[in-house]
């Protein structure tokens, strides 16, 4: 229980800090509010970037950008993976064969290259990024859910319930959801973290929404700044988005792992 609460509490703290940065912090995350490359001060907590835009404000808005992309991708993956997994595991036969093929297809494609290709060609809106990430996240979920459903299908109470003519939705709601929901939730939570990483990777390559102050984009801008190596600007320009990214991904991961232990009682 404590292992569950600590990462959750820390993540909440992080979210609160960034919520302050987004809502109450006086500097704007899109517009210059100071000189270029100012060192951290009381006015600019983490200094400014080359355009004079406040870094703390950018990192804060980046947090919610990343998190919302992660959550949105996770929700889509959750629904897609859950529905296809249950349907395949329960129905068997041709449905199962098709879904299994799809799962294997998506598992075998090298993800980053195809994301680059699709991202480059479908344009750089956040919505596209969410869809692309979700499209490559549902397969592992579906695989697990399918296996679990298959084993559940053979249990006596389900066979009995089915013989009374229960529909799939009814059966899922009353008999299977208790087993499958935790599995689904945990895998989706893991998707959130991965999606944040993938979005920032794409942003680093310049393939994410250019208007959003995404962390990957900030990192790319900073590393692309000429002469960054022999100045000290990188300390307040590069490290904040990097640390924010690592920290939030880590906390999410720790949380989902603790949840896994807690719910599924796995070692």
């Amino acid at each position: 229980m404590r292992r569950l609460l600590i990462p959750a509490a820390l993540f909440l703290l992080l979210a609160l800090l960034f919520a302050y940065g987004l809502l109450f912090y006086p500097q704007d995350s899109q517009l210059p509010s100071g000189d270029s490359l100012e060192a951290p001060s009381r006015v600019h907590w983490l200094g400014t970037d080359n355009l004079g835009i406040d870094i703390f404000a950018q990192v804060s808005s980046g947090f919610f950008h990343s998190l919302s992309i992660g959550l949105a991708a996770a929700v889509i993956a959750f629904m897609l993976g859950g529905a296809l997994g249950v349907a395949a595991g329960y129905a068997g036969g041709r449905t199962d064969a098709v879904v299994e093929f799809l799962i294997n297809l998506f598992l075998s494609v090298p993800q980053l290259p195809i994301m680059i290709v699709i991202g480059a060609f479908f344009g750089q809106s956040s919505l596209n990024i969410i869809c692309i990430i979700a499209a490559f996240s549902w397969a592992p979920i579906a695989k697990q859910v399918r296996a679990r459903t298959m084993s559940l299908r053979k249990t006596r109470y389900l066979i009995l319930a089915r013989s009374y003519g229960g529909g799939l939705w009814y059966l899922f709601r009353t008999h299977m959801s208790r087993d499958i929901m935790p599995l689904l939730l945990i895998s989706s939570l893991a998707v959130t973290g991965r999606a944040i990483v993938q979005e920032s990777s794409l942003a680093f390559l310049g393939l994410s929404d250019p208007l959003a102050k995404s962390w990957g984009l900030m990192i790319a801008r900073c590393t692309g700044f000429k002469g960054i190596y022999f100045t000290e600007f990188w300390i307040w320009w590069l490290l904040p988005p990097v640390l924010a990214l690592v920290l939030s991904v880590l906390l999410l991961r720790l949380f989902s792992r603790a949840l896994e232990n807690y719910w599924l009682g796995k070692e």
């Binding site: 517009l31 210059p32 344009g123 750089q124 250019p210 000429k226 002469g227 022999f230």
Partner: protein
Amino acid sequence: MKKSKFISLFLIICVAISLFGGCQSHVNAPAGDAGGEHGVAESSYLVETLKLAGGTDWGVPSPYLNVSRGPGQAKMRLVFASLLEKDETGDVPWLAESWSFEGNEYTFTLFEGQSFHDGEPLTTEDVAFTIDYFREYPPVTNSLGVGDGFIIENYRIVDEYTITITVKEANADTLSNLGSFVILPKHIWEKVADPYTYNVPDCLVGSGAYMCTGYEGATGSYEFTAYAGWVNGQQAAERILFVPVSDELLAFENGEIDIASMPADLADKYMDDPAIGFVEKADDMGYKMLINFERLPEFLDLPLRQGIYAALDRQSIVDNVFRGMGSVGSAGYVPVSSLFYNENVIKYEYDPDAAKELLGEKGFEISLLTDDSADGISIAEIVKINLEAVGMKVTVEAVDSASRDDRINKGDYDFAIVGNGGWGNNPPGYMRTLFSDKSKYLSTSPASMGPRGYSNEEMTELAEAQLKETDFEKRKEMFKELEYMVSEEIPLFVLGNQSSYSMYRIDYYDGWMKTYAYQQAEQNRLSYMAR
């Protein structure tokens, strides 16, 4: 089974690793120079090497293979010579020692004794062959036109060194166009049926002052060596190297390269240093805003456009985005620092109250298209805030530049921001493709595309007429008149011009120059000649 698996795994890896190690020898130290000081031979060149930042693959420096952007073109033009070159003030001899023209006939006389890099003499036969060959297979950079637009009617070889070229219709740009196509060696290309894929070493046998002696695409490194058979003057360096660098500035500081661009934010550090020289590219990069009048015909009403200008705080673009290096653009389009600038053009001051009055209570809702570069987005954000302050509603749309160009070409935008280089070029030939109704759809690049849904007969006439005018002063006056008309009519909005600097160490090599027509020191051939 395990053992064999393991062995095969190892074999695979060994093969993969030896793939690039085993094929060729990498030992390249000059004989007799076994690790000691690099002996500097007496050289007739000003400097032994000039090193520039490389790292990007600009393609094979050959007329059909180079990448079409500036740096690719410039490398090709080191290796391949054209008839004429430009210096600070005008046209100068390059392969042609002298030239003359009358009506549609242009006569060029080549230097005697010039040869291609394989030693074969360069004669008017080659010039004539190149014209025919380019007519059939347009090269990457093509000043002669394509198909029906091919500007040359015919040619007449007078003798081995003299050729007369007849054009279909002479205009102010004809000499420049005829002077700038590069000459191919006939004895090599006459056998080539598909020049677009011809990339055996032969394709680098050029006619220029430098030979391409090393090219590696993956790392973006190039080596050019002075060609001893070049007759028109002396090269400045024995070798020119384009070296991949991790950070241009760091490499310049460490002496790994001899010229670098200076970031605006570090200007203070270098400007005061007497050991460092600069070549300024004044106002060369420019940003404009286009209105799609087909979609927003309301804006054909002039006061609305004046209102937009008054709403824009263009000084803040210069201050915040260009970090002070640049100027608030001239409403007449041609930048302030140009020879052709008209100081009498109308100047629009930032005046939000006046803007509100002019724009009225219409409450326009528009989208503003820009590319996804950092500068493009920052400018769009500033424009958005300015316009919203006077009661418009603006959504910024940022897409990658290819998509942006495509949408502008198709007319799929309300307002759009376009940034491009070359505003400092002389003469400002872009004025024609921007403002003449006859020419504005000829080009498909948004950089020089005129405003959609706007037409102006008087402007068109002037923009076309300047091309026909061969007298320099008269042409300049026509441009100035055109600028004034543009500033008055506002077919588009000039947001700002950005200047940039190349810096170099004066004591090492001081020959970097810009031509009257083109400001890129690194891309001008005369920068590499002893003058």
